[in-house]
Symmetry: C2
Subunit: 229 residues, 2 copies
DNA sequence: TAGTGGTCTAGACCACCCC
DNA sequence: GGGTGGTCTAGACCACTAA
């Protein structure tokens, strides 16, 4: 069997680990490596490109390829549908709509979504349960100018998250993770006490520069978000 | 100019967005698409592979390519060196070692790192400041069986994070994000009050199945971690 | 301006896996 | 069994950019 791009990646990683190519070092060019490994340049190229994707190498035309001095490790999160996230743990998923109201955007939201005054916004509050336990409180705002048909949905049976993912594409998104002390209201919904540290995610999405939705997600006490490198 | 794999990706995304290929739909085979776009199959292949990487499509041999029913969006975090993270904001970075001690691993850590009883562990506590403000409290445990030369370093001038990234490669890593209520000690270091919700990251890394280090990072009040999709 | 990576091609063989 | 994607090749031209 010939040298595959997998093999090449492994070899390169080994050489880096063994300090044959220490951080900052320049690697030979693709043609030379192809000769060494006895394969086509395209094969070397693919291996190298993937190592760049993985944050191990840096490449610049003319300058060549070098080992990153501080390998930028990157963590990959998949953003799951909450129903699947819960169902996958074996628990039963339950969704409850708490409130649904069409209203003009409050000031802080106007700023965030860049919508004009009096522009109608659909505001939803919902709870997601895993079995008997509260899992997440969702506070969602949908820009009806961007998604007019959201107004036709009563969201009694399906969470807005799920509906949006299926119905409304987006071109850009932002995620912000933080920790907040639960307000009295949040604590009640999440079945915990005032001031409990709550893992919080804010999510905003845009479709071609037009803001689609902003959501604040409060997770139950002791929620952990896990990822592998 | 010929159709590039960038163009193909854009076209496919557009067709998905316009519901020409709705979620779950099967796409034509690579050969057919290559014919349609007037390019080589390899070009189509690359476009499709990248769309799989981005969580838009699913492919299976023989079955073909289809649009994911629930496109799994993925967020990419780069894990920066804390010094660079702070310096990049324009603030001055300051590092202080609080404690350094070699000790046997406590029980909870033995379980986590899978190390034997009485195996020596280097325990470090340090603070990272952004200008005058506390930025992060680092509680770090280094497995000296995996990294013996860590014992030679006094870590007075350089944080263990930075040292490890430069000196010790790893093959696997785990990140856990959560929110915790600050203990009295943590609150004091972070210049806040008891019980404040603190964004917390736990990080564990392994080198070829051998655990290297475990760290618990407590960020200052109101810290936000941001990422784009 | 010359060297390096970036991309494309036309063809080939193979591995997997649904039917 | 046969169709689909996975991968590789040998060669080509191009784009960027460091020297």
């Amino acid at each position: 069997m010939r040298t595959s791009y997998h093999d090449i990646k492994a070899i390169v990683l080994t050489r880096i680990r063994e300090n044959i190519w220490p951080p900052g070092a320049n690697l030979p060019g693709e043609i030379e490596l192809a000769k060494e490994f006895g394969c086509a340049r395209a094969t070397v190229n693919r291996a190298m490109r993937e190592l760049v994707d993985e944050g191990i190498l840096e490449r610049k035309r003319k300058a060549g390829t070098k080992v990153k001095s501080y390998p930028t490790r990157r963590a990959l999160f998949s953003i799951p549908i909450i129903r699947e996230e819960i169902t996958n743990t074996g628990a039963k998923y339950r969704y409850v709509l708490i409130e649904r109201k069409i209203m003009p955007a409050p000031g802080w939201l106007r700023a965030r979504l860049e919508v004009k005054k009096d522009q109608p916004i659909l505001h939803l509050q919902c709870m997601h349960y895993a079995g008997p336990n509260p899992y997440q409180l969702e506070d969602r705002w949908i820009n009806l100018a961007a998604v007019p048909n959201a107004a036709d949905n009563d969201f009694e049976d399906m969470g807005p998250n799920e509906w949006l993912v299926r119905e409304v594409p987006f071109t850009e998104g932002e995620l912000v993770f933080s920790a907040t002390n639960a307000s009295n209201e949040v604590a009640n919904f999440l079945n915990t006490s005032d001031g409990t540290a709550v893992f919080t995610v804010e999510r905003t999405t845009w479709l071609d520069k037009i803001s689609v939705t902003y959501a604040r997600l409060y997770f139950a006490r002791d929620h952990k978000m896990l990822t592998r490198l």
